[in-house]
């Protein structure tokens, strides 16, 4: 409670040194969580370089769905660890991240989608994650506002109910990690863009920023939508294409929806925040782009699909729409770990449309990798070498609106 009346700075402006042990590029949830967990492991000579303000990338633009009901066993184990870290995060950081574990429903409107959900339910249960297939009467009980009748063109046939899933206040996570890292002496440098990376003999040696050059032996690329441009600075081509992803919110309404609703078949998902706004989003735009411009067709299509699920929302108004960019890999799974042949260059990218929920576990495990020099088991399935060896991870198969 005393915190309420204290006005401490969340993070301090420190001078940019010309040498750090570790430089993290990207001040989103991934970069900042990595910095935080590095600090916890005793590595504090760390700089986070962020070209905009803290959280200005996807971490400040996402719709903050947290869940672990993935399809592959590797995926489930990984995201489940993240959900557990999120559950403890407020206490860990001393900062309430408003994790609303309200429960998460993935809807199916076709028989093959039902089968897809069944696959996930089975894998989830076997991996110890709460997740089960439910049918329209129970869906209606959990979500009274939803239309489960047979009137819509694609009626709801079933849903995957994942009770631990929910939404979170994304900015609070970002700020909380930044504050935690700052308190341990780690430097956070907003408005510091990395424009070059020096290497010598297959080893990273320095980064050039808009505020000067820094020597560092370990550099983490945690720049999500921009990661290919940063990888290019060391001549590395990533199997990643950046696509825009849009979302919008409505006016605040007294909360009536306390489950996250995702419909892959209708390309729409809806949740209601603790403030009462509905947050609504869709799939990535079908073209690749780095543009933050929002579009009208997205609003039209997504509004239409929202009304198919919730006809009662017809007169509810949209307040604002926005766009972020997503680093998509061919198999909808991230790329994490060191790059063979380039010592000290660590990737934490390919987070696509689903990376916010993975912030804690990636940060923790990447930090562990940096400190021990060994790749933790949970990261192994996500190495970049899988693309070179033709063994993709299986999350694209889940064909969900993948948040």
């Amino acid at each position: 409670m005393w915190q309420l009346f204290k006005r401490e700075r969340m993070w301090t402006a420190r001078p940019l040194k010309d040498r750090y042990e570790v430089v993290i590029i990207g001040g989103g949830v991934h970069g900042l969580a990595t910095a935080y967990y590095l600090g916890k492991l005793g590595v504090r000579d760390v700089a986070v370089c962020e070209k905009g303000y803290i959280g200005s990338g996807a971490s400040g633009r996402n719709t903050a769905i947290i869940r672990s009901n993935y399809r592959t066993p590797e995926g489930v184990v990984f995201y489940d660890e993240s959900v557990r870290l999120y559950e403890e995060l407020a206490a860990e950081l001393g900062y309430n991240v408003l994790f609303s574990q309200q429960g998460h429903l993935t809807l199916a409107h076709t028989d093959s989608a039902v089968n897809g959900l069944r696959v996930r339910a089975e894998v989830n249960q076997l991996m110890g994650v709460e997740s089960r297939l439910i049918w329209p009467p129970e869906i209606k009980r959990l979500v009274p506002a939803i239309d489960v009748s047979s009137r819509p063109r694609y009626p709801i046939l079933a849903a995957l109910y994942h009770a631990p899933g929910g939404i979170i206040r994304h900015d609070a996570v970002v700020w909380g990690y930044a504050r935690g890292a700052d308190r341990m002496g780690i430097s956070i440098h907003p408005f510091t863009e990395v424009i070059g990376i020096g290497t010598s003999n297959g080893q990273v040696t320095s980064v050039q920023t808009t505020r000067g050059t820094i020597r560092a032996g370990t550099v983490v690329n945690a720049t999500a939508g921009f990661c290919s441009t940063v990888a290019k600075l060391v001549g590395l081509k990533l199997p990643i294409v950046t696509h825009p992803l849009q979302a919008f919110v409505t006016e605040p309404l007294s909360p009536f929806l306390d489950k996250v609703i995702v419909s892959a078949n209708l390309h729409v998902y809806v949740s209601q925040t603790d403030r009462g706004e509905l947050v609504i989003g869709s799939e990535i735009d079908p073209y690749s782009s780095y543009s933050y411009k929002s579009t009208l067709p997205f609003l039209e299509a997504t509004a239409a699909h929202t009304l198919e699920l919730f006809p009662c929302l017809r007169q509810v108004r949209v307040l604002r729409q926005w766009t972020g960019i997503c680093d998509m890999t061919p198999d909808y799974s991230p790329i994490m770990g060191e790059v063979p042949g380039l010592k000290g260059f660590i990737l934490d990218v390919g987070w696509g449309t689903y990376g916010f929920k993975a912030g804690p576990v990636s940060g923790k495990r990447i930090a562990e990798l940096i400190v021990t020099g060994n790749t933790p088991d949970v990261l192994k399935p996500f190495s970049i070498t899988r693309f070179w060896e033709g063994r993709l991870a299986g999350e694209k198969a889940a064909a969900a609106v993948s948040h």
Binding site: G55, N96, S254, L296, V318
Partner: protein
């Protein structure tokens, strides 16, 4: 309470001859046609129109233009309706919201005392320990959140349509600048679309009782201008239409009532003017505090007397003018506090002559009165904008009219790519650089005074028209001349807040964010305007930042020691006005595809399933019976849903070889071959058949849901290549029926002269001929594992051939069969369905279809990855299995080993002919051996099965070939 309506006046929009009655919180309210809900309520004495988000403070009318959060009510079950722009209608039901038990007496008002324990961002700092209590806290927080309550049982009707309009020139804003631009462009022969959100043209002139310049009062001038527009056939006026976003491709999103209009214009002039914003001072949110032009609208357009005695607060000439307008409407003006050191316009003199004191260098310090304005304290400001000690004066009044802040409505310009720069002389951000197709005119560009505004509008219209190629040398010269005249220097003292020791000085009315909250947030490090916004939720409420944007920049700048230009603005996100989901969604049609034989299936009582856009019969009678007829007699199924592509051209054969993993260049004319299409990662996209009809002519079928995918895929690989061929979608033109079963030859023989003998028409042959008198392409293939003929023919004959075949087969007890039976039958043969048995990771090698992969032919799509898969070895295999117990697993159930998932069931059915449950599953390679044991988790139980890699039924394919 006595009615507070003013005498009729030509500027009013109200028809006093037409009374209306509606209810407000159960009480009857008398209104007149043309009045808004809020105007009628105000006339009936209502002053508290809403309760604030966090502190539940009473809030009254402020902007009277639909721009602020203060008048949101529930109307006929719809929450958050802006009552100040909602027309009153007979019998509507209006209720307050976010208050209990009523707006006037809200018990939650006690929160107003809790500001000390509810500072900005309090929720980030509290409810952390113990963690197990957080869900309970959260429930309480949620209960308190939100504004209006949605009736989830109500499903409002939608009547809106989506309309496309194209224009040479679209002008947004029908005030004097927009009208001048429109008239000028039309004069040069340009077709103009004039978009304005009011019911009538004239912008702010419409609520002016006095002349701006010359003799004519504003409202009369507005009527004249509207007449001029009406007389100009090249101008099309969209009334009551809000342009809510300017999107890429010069696309304006426009909402007109329930319609969404998508305007694409070659040139766009933004003449949106600006709007007043509140000043930040103690109790600046009390009912009775009005924005000046809101007050004018209430008086002039709706004829409502807003109060007894007004105090006007000014920082520019417009405040002096406001005081004169009040006088003209018959309202007493207690005083004008003008924060500038000298009043600059002639209006000051007028006011003094009328006996109204004008206090230079003064502004308002605080409002007094618990629930509404009773008095205000004025104070003089020193040059550092701090109140001078001892200068305080109290003025009794029941209205406070603010002309203290003004913000250009420049969001469309920003969205269109304009650069906006801060102008210290005007205290706002104005367009400094515009794309060549975008123009700004009038107040939004900083023009001051009617003459300058109109001239600026004219210039914009002229420039836009010239850039479209209209006009001549004289017009160009005119443009130059208009350009040269400079605007008169403005006189504004742009203050945004007045310091006070008490904290209820609201910057953001939507979210109850005070100046102290901003100061606290900045102290905590949220000193960038974007982080400040995110932390305090400033600009994120229902007013979308209209009321707080300007003040928050000023305050942030002052508190961080930067100037506003360094502070910058937050992004102007669309929509500029809240747009209902129903308007955006429009009538929304989800297409349904029906086969030409659909109605016959319906009359047979088929149950339906969706497959892509198609409706298909799932079952007619029973799966067992339908399977039995196909195995023992003859059945027929409507397969018109198959995608059908006609591929013709010199390079067709070679192209099909490139697109598919198997080979077609060696296919003989008159033969059919199975096709599998892969993506570049070797993943199965679709399957079907290819029939060669001639040297350069092929007929392709695709899966029922994948026609679009296949067609796009072929077009993608054709685009830019110099291959000589055409791909034509003939799906809609053709119907298709598959006649299957051991008796199918006999049935077909009755309808055709073709030689159907196995020698003349063997398995995998294709022939074109006449069946029942119509031309038919017959493919001898057998997805369902029996002798069969897939017939493609003109869609018009769909029901004719269907009925004729049924008639011909009567003696063999022919029956139609549906998709469910088809799926059982094909499973007995282990034929895969892409997308059902395969997913985004399935390649043909692992799907046990190595026979369709011809690694020895020249390159094909997916080859490189398949080579790599070969090298690394298979990681999973698609196999058949049968259950050892009579359970049918769910499709999607897990295959387990040691309690962990190692694979999954993709298809599982009960086979009546085999008398057991069979299926297909992905399993690890070590399990993929014939007879191998399989554990499947069905409904929580582990059940045993056995792997089978050969087809269950007729493994040698004798029946198929018979």
């Amino acid at each position: 309470m006595k009615d507070s309506r003013l005498p009729p006046h030509p500027a009013q929009r109200v028809n006093r001859g037409k009374p209306i009655t509606f209810t407000f919180e159960g009480r009857a309210i008398h209104a007149y046609d043309g009045e808004t809900v809020a105007a009628a309520l105000y006339a009936a004495g209502v002053r508290t129109f809403s309760r604030s988000f966090k502190y539940h403070r009473p809030r009254g009318l402020l902007c009277v233009a639909g721009r602020c959060p203060n008048c949101l009510m529930e109307v006929d079950g719809t929450p958050n309706v802006r009552t100040c722009i909602e027309p009153a209608r007979q019998e509507m039901r209006v209720r307050g919201q976010h208050a209990w038990p009523s707006l006037e007496r809200d018990l939650f008002a006690c929160f107003d005392k809790l500001d000390r324990v509810l500072p900005v961002g309090f929720y980030y700092k509290t409810f952390i320990h113990p963690t197990w209590l957080w869900p309970t806290y959260e429930r309480v927080l949620r209960r308190l959140a939100g504004l209006g309550r949605l009736d989830i049982a109500r499903e409002p009707e939608g009547h809106g349509e989506h309309v496309h309009l194209h224009a040479d020139l679209a002008i947004v804003g029908g005030g004097p600048a927009g009208i001048a631009a429109a008239l000028e462009a039309a004069r040069l022969g340009v077709e103009v679309l004039l978009i304005d959100d009011g019911p009538t043209l004239g912008g702010h002139l419409q609520w002016q009782l006095l002349p701006s310049e010359g003799e004519q009062p504003g409202y009369a001038l507005a009527l004249n201008l509207a007449d001029l527009v009406r007389g100009e056939p090249r101008i099309r006026h969209l009334a009551g239409a809000t342009a809510f976003g300017l999107y890429e491709g010069r696309l304006l999103g426009v909402m007109q009532g329930e319609h969404l209009i998508k305007v694409r214009a070659q040139r766009i002039v933004v003449a949106t003017g600006g709007f007043e914003t509140p000043l930040v001072f103690q109790n600046n949110d009390r009912p009775g505090v009005f924005l000046g032009d809101g007050l004018q609208r209430l008086m002039t357009l709706y004829g409502i007397s807003p109060g007894r005695r007004a105090l006007v607060i000014a920082n520019a000439d417009r405040g002096l003018r406001l005081a004169r307008e009040l006088l003209a409407a018959g309202i007493e003006v207690a005083a004008v506090a003008d924060v500038r050191s000298e009043p600059h316009s002639a209006d000051g003199q007028h006011l003094r002559e009328a006996g109204v004191p004008v206090l230079s260098g003064h502004t308002v310090l605080e409002v007094r009165g618990r629930k509404r304005v009773e008095a205000a304290a004025l104070v003089s400001l020193d040059s550092a904008e701090r109140p001078s000690p001892g200068s305080e004066k109290t003025v009794e009044c029941d209205l406070l009219a603010l002309a203290t802040g003004w913000e250009p409505a420049s969001a469309l310009l920003a969205q269109g790519g304009a650069r906006l720069d801060y102008r210290a002389d005007l205290g706002g951000f104005f367009p400094a650089e515009l794309p060549s197709w975008l123009f700004a005119a009038g107040e939004v560009r900083g023009a001051q005074g009617l003459g300058a505004i109109q001239k600026d509008g004219r210039l914009a219209g002229l420039k836009a028209a010239l850039s479209l190629g209209a006009g001549d040398a004289r017009d160009r010269a005119l443009a130059e001349a208009l350009q040269e005249d400079a605007n008169p220097p403005p006189s504004i003292r742009p203050i945004v807040s007045v310091p006070h020791p008490k904290p209820k000085r609201f910057v953001c009315l939507c979210e109850d964010v005070t100046e102290k909250d901003l100061a606290d947030a900045i102290q905590e490090g949220f000193d960038h305007i974007e982080t400040l916004k995110r932390y305090t939720t400033l600009t994120m409420g229902p007013c979308q930042g209209k009321m707080c944007h300007r003040a928050s920049i000023g305050i942030c700048a002052a508190l961080t020691g930067r100037d506003p230009s360094q502070t910058g603005t937050t992004t102007a996100r669309p929509p500029l006005k809240p747009v209902p989901l129903g308007v955006l969604a429009g009538p929304h049609h989800e297409p349904v595809k029906l086969t030409p034989i659909h109605h016959l299936h319906a009359s047979l009582g088929a149950t339906w399933m969706d497959m892509g856009l198609w409706k298909r019969p799932l079952v007619y009678t029973s799966v067992e019976e339908e399977c039995r007829v196909v195995h023992q007699g003859v059945g027929l199924i409507d397969v018109s849903t198959l995608g059908k592509l006609d591929v013709k051209g010199r390079d067709a054969a070679q192209f099909l070889d490139w697109i598919h993993s198997n080979r077609f260049s060696d296919l003989k004319a008159g033969r059919v071959r199975y096709r599998v299409m892969l993506d570049d990662a070797g993943i199965i996209l679709d399957d079907g058949t290819v029939a060669r009809l001639g040297e350069d002519h092929f007929f392709l079928t695709t899966g029922s849901g994948s026609l679009e995918l296949v067609e796009q895929w072929l077009e993608w690989w054709l685009a830019g290549s110099d291959r000589c061929l055409h791909v034509t979608d003939v799906t809609g033109a053709l119907a298709a029926i598959n006649l299957a079963g051991p008796k199918s030859r006999e049935v077909l023989a009755r309808l055709t002269d073709l030689d159907l003998s196995p020698e003349a028409l063997p398995y995998l042959a294709a022939v074109q001929g006449t069946v029942a008198g119509i031309p038919v392409l017959i493919l001898r293939i057998g997805f369902v594992g029996e002798l069969g003929y897939e017939m493609h023919f003109a869609a018009e004959y769909g029901d004719y051939l269907w009925e004729t075949l049924r008639e011909a087969g009567r003696e063999f007890d022919i029956l139609p069969f549906g998709v469910e039976a088809q799926r059982v039958l094909r499973l007995e043969k282990l034929h895969i369905i892409p997308g059902h048995d395969t997913d985004a990771l399935s390649n043909p090698l692992e799907a046990d279809m190595a026979w369709v992969v011809k690694m020895d032919k020249p390159d094909f799509i997916g080859r490189a990855t398949l080579a790599r898969v070969k090298a690394r070895g298979l990681r999973q295999r698609l196999v058949g299995f049968e259950m050892l117990t009579p359970v049918v697993p769910g499709e999607g159930d897990a295959v387990v080993a040691d309690g962990l998932p190692v694979g999954r069931v993709t298809s599982a059915k009960w086979s009546p002919v085999l008398g057991r449950a069979i299926g297909m599953a992905w399993v690890p390679p070590d399990l993929a051996v014939d007879g191998g044991h399989l554990q499947v988790k069905c409904d929580g139980q582990v059940c045993r099965g056995r792997v089978v890699t050969k087809p269950f039924y007729d493994p040698e394919g004798k029946r198929l070939r018979s």
